[in-house]
């Protein structure tokens, strides 16, 4: 389950359902309902960073070699990166069960 630490009973739920700990959204993984996933063909990639810029979920991270890789904990499979890549380096493929 993606949001294990949020699963508590009503008595232990924070008062008013407030989020009392700043920055804890980093622990809130949101990529579990994706139906497609992007994959990058490094042969074609020119490391321009367009995918990183356009991803609405900030899923892309730059690798030490300068390539961009989507973090599947956050990717929603929207396909925007594949659409924006100037080199058609990104392919969307169906998520396996």
């Amino acid at each position: 389950m993606a949001i294990l630490d949020a699963i508590v009973g009503w008595k232990t739920l924070p008062f008013g359902c407030h989020v009392l700990e700043p920055g804890n959204s980093a622990r809130f993984r949101t990529g579990d309902w994706r139906s497609q996933r992007p994959s990058t063909d490094r042969e074609k990639c020119i490391k321009c960073g367009m995918c990183w810029i356009f991803c609405p979920d900030m899923a892309y991270r730059q690798t030490p070699e300068g390539y961009f890789e989507a973090d599947m904990e956050y990717c929603k499979g929207c396909g925007i990166c594949a659409n924006e890549c100037p080199k058609d380096a990104i392919t969307m493929s169906p998520e396996e069960e």
């Binding site: 949020a6 009503w10 359902c17």
Partner: protein, 392 residues
């Protein structure tokens, strides 16, 4: 020292808010609530009240502003009515589960169409399930006292919930009554300063009002509901303390000549005063008629209500709300469900009266009691009946 003065009820409410030393008043004027916020804006303008008065562009903005200021830890008040309250509706659902103790006085008024500025309870019945504590005032003194009481209860850290005081539009809001206005010092003894359990603070960041994914939404709703139900203890306790300090006792359910009554009228708000006169007249004529007034509408005081009606076999419930297509008026429905399958339950008849400013007179109450008696002998009436409709 408390002074008894002749004063318009709206102004008395504004006085109560001033005496509560409120911090923020976001407000939009709507009839018949206008005088309340007009007076508050004057108090702020002439320096009698050190508060932010925010003249917003709509009631939707007014309640949004209230949520923000309450979350920031400011004692917050607004007032609304009718279509304005409906325009607020989207935001009205937020402060309950978010536990923001906003206080609002609603000057109850009919809903269009046709357009009506006059009094009934349809505006608040639409907002029955917003999850606020709700009380109903019967007269000007109630309106003043209940407004102060609302701040005390809403802000109590065991409660921390928004609260509405309902006052009938015009019938109360625009009437001049003799009202005992408490002094600053007296109010100080009843209402402590607002100390929120949590507030927005850049030094200790928290988020108020986040998304509730399916895994937590139900729990958040239950937590709110339990808090609302549990607030009854604090409400009653604050009323007791108010009575000890100032001599006026309020109760979740109040009775009038109801001991040994066979038929009991059930009312909310200012028509209760006329109902008392009607009960006196019927008692003088030898009829065993009594009255039960619901003061606390949410959380609904079920056990107190059951106790209040004693052994009466017939309840004539008067709703000032016509629920189109429904089986029963909202108060009638609440009571029918309260008594569902309770052994020895009274027969409950639901009447709709006093819509859009139509007077509910002593004679109307007599007619209602008469009808309830007759129906009780015949068969249970499953629907509701609108009283005083012209057929031709």
């Amino acid at each position: 020292m408390a002074k008894r003065v002749g004063i318009e009820v709206s102004i008395a409410v504004a006085e109560a808010v001033r005496l509560a030393d409120v911090d923020v008043v976001p407000a939009y004027p709507i009839t018949p609530q206008t005088h309340i916020v007009e007076h508050l804006s004057e108090f702020v303008a002439n320096g009698e009240l050190d508060a932010e008065f925010i003249p917003v562009e709509s009631e939707h903005a007014a309640m949004s502003c209230c949520c923000g200021s309450s979350a920031a830890g400011a004692r917050t008040f607004t007032s609304s009515s009718s279509q304005g309250l409906s325009l607020m509706s989207e935001i009205l659902y937020h402060p309950g589960p978010m536990r923001l103790p906003i206080v609002m006085v609603v000057a109850n008024r009919a809903l269009a169409a046709p357009i009506s500025i006059w009094n009934d309870h349809q505006d608040i019945m639409v907002q029955r399930d917003i999850g606020w504590i709700q009380t109903f005032a019967e007269n000007g003194q109630d309106a003043f006292d209940l407004t102060l009481h609302a701040f005390r209860v809403a802000e109590d850290r065991r409660v921390s919930l928004p609260m509405i005081v309902n006052i009938d539009g015009f019938t109360l809001s625009h009437v001049i009554e003799p009202i005992e206005i408490l002094s600053k010092e007296e109010v100080g003894r009843f209402l402590p300063p607002f100390k929120p359990r949590f507030r927005l603070d850049t030094k200790k960041p928290i988020s108020i009002g986040p998304v509730g994914v399916p895994e937590v939404y139900t729990e958040a709703k239950v937590a709110h509901n339990e808090a609302l139900k549990a607030s009854k203890r604090v409400i009653v306790q604050a009323w007791k303390e108010f009575a000890n300090l100032f001599g006026r006792q309020y109760n979740p359910v109040e009775t009038y000549r109801s001991e040994d009554a066979e038929v009991i009228l059930v009312t909310m708000g200012s028509i209760s005063e006329t109902a008392m006169t009607a009960v006196d007249a019927m008692r003088d004529a030898g009829q065993k008629v009594g009255l039960v007034r619901i003061r606390l509408w949410r959380p609904f005081p079920g056990p107190e209500f059951k106790k209040a009606i004693g052994k009466a076999g017939v309840l004539a419930v008067i709703d000032r709300c016509l629920p189109p297509g429904a089986v029963c008026g909202p108060v009638g429905a609440e009571l029918r469900s309260l008594f569902y399958k309770v052994p020895g339950a009274p027969k409950i008849f639901s009447f709709v009266a006093g819509l859009g400013g139509r007077d509910v007179t002593v004679d109307r109450f007599k007619e209602i009691v008469e009808k309830a008696r007759t129906y009780a002998k015949r068969r249970p009436v499953e629907n509701y009946e609108v009283i005083g409709v012209r057929e031709q």
